[in-house]
């Protein structure tokens, strides 16, 4: 009886730990979000013109000030991402603002949002794309030293 209770407690503890780990997997997933203020042509031929200036604020802190053609970025945690934008259409024009909430896809590390297309109400598939870093052409191999006392090679 005592042994049975012990086993049950152990199973519950293990399940609890696995549940915590699973939670961490979801809430701790990091993403890099890129904001573009660039011209974009949609699949239907619609052209989304960039704004004169877009400021992006996350948690009240300015993370990017984008002129036409600029890209900004911020690192974030979790899938629910909220940011504030302050927009200026033309030089000397009136500033508009608003808060945007997006659901970040779990499987993508770097996500690019084209803000002019997003603000114009385009579909997600139009304004969102995955950021794929350029492959580094000629990368020098890291020299891994695992034996401090090894004889130097003759090469």
């Amino acid at each position: 009886m005592k042994n049975k209770r012990k086993i049950i407690f152990r199973i519950i503890a293990l399940a609890l730990i696995i549940a915590v780990a699973a939670c961490m997997f979801v809430i701790g997933r990091g993403h890099t979000v890129y904001f573009d203020n660039k011209e974009l042509t949609g699949p239907d031929g619609t052209v989304y013109e960039p704004w004169y200036q877009i400021e992006v604020l996350v948690n009240g802190e300015r993370v990017a000030r984008l002129a036409e053609g600029d890209r900004g970025m911020v690192s974030t945690m979790g899938q629910d991402f909220k940011f504030e934008v302050k927009l200026t259409k033309q030089k000397g024009g009136k500033m508009q603002g608003g808060t945007i909430g997006v659901k970040l896809p779990y499987s993508i590390d770097g996500i690019i949002y084209n803000l002019p297309a997003m603000l114009a109400g385009a579909e997600e598939s139009v304004y969102m794309e995955e950021f794929i870093p350029d492959p580094i052409e000629e990368e020098t191999e890291d020299v891994v030293v695992t034996d401090e006392f090894a004889m130097p090679s003759e090469e």
């Binding site: 780990a21 997997f25 701790g28 990091g30 191999e141």
Partner: protein
Amino acid sequence: MNNTSKNTKILSFLRSSSVPILFIIICAVCIPLSGLSANMLFNEITTRMGRNAFLILSLLIPIMAGMGLNFGMTLGAMAGEIALILVSDWQIVGIPGMVLAMILSVPFSILLGLFCGKILNMAKGREMITSYIISYFINGVYLLVVLYMMGSVIPIKHSTIKLPRGYGIRNTVSLLNMRQKLDNLIPLKLNIPGVGIVKIPVMTFIIIAILCLVIVWFRRTKLGQDMRAVGQDMEVARDAGINVERTRIISIVISTVLAGFGMIIYLQNMGNIATYSSHSQIGMFCIAALLVGGASVDKASIGNVFLGVILFHTMFIVAPKAGAAITGDSMIGEYFRVFVSYAVITIALVMYETQKRKAKSQEGAMLAAAQDEGEEEKDS
């Protein structure tokens, strides 16, 4: 008579506290020579206390069980590093990343601890040298996993972690998304008069305090009492019905798991993993710090941990500058601090062995005297 006993007490205190006293003198000489400001010194010591205390605390339980200084804590450090590499590749960041790494490190640490404990049970009386060599052996296994299996057998997605050849982990893995997240979770900056603003890693200190309380509580539990009994005399403990081997293995497993957690706390503070070297020196520096705090091979307390961290790391901070001021070459200071780390361990081990032999010879002398007395009584 009174004076003699007083002198003996002072002498025995000086003998038992010779290492901390030596370090206080070294620090007292080096601090003014280094020219470092009180503010910088306080900030550095506070940071290093948060970074190292958990790791050093992991050494206390095997000492309690009479297994000496657990050089095998490196095994836990390796488990922590493997967990952090995986978590970094999965892009789990911040505190959740740390928690996940801790959970993930536990099975690795338990397996390594069991392996280490079983071997140490086969080498009773030579635990320290055995655990030291085990750490070298497991380092080979770690290299096999990290250098060849990660990327080829164990999937590693990100090219920032993987070597350009397609498998193996780079020399340095960035933990920028995790850097000092625990330390800065509860931000506190104290303005100490005469020192200035000192940044306190509150959350890290809270976790260290919790571990201290757990250790104090653990000593009073049945298992803790068993460990103390095993540490005092294995044969007596066995006669009392304690499963000595099992108790010893548990103490090593606990130490390895705690070392894994400690390594994760250490690396989140650093902000990167030196994949092939982070763990290699950690055991030696932690043991040196504990010994500097006045601990010995068979006795260590929580107080020794904190005194050791303060003294050892003060020496670590000021030695290069003091070396530069004295000799004009900062490298001398660098050599000095490494030399001192090894020297402290050597002195402590020599002192322990000397005291053990002295106690043994005293015991022998007392036995001989008792026998002589018995024979004299018989003759008369």
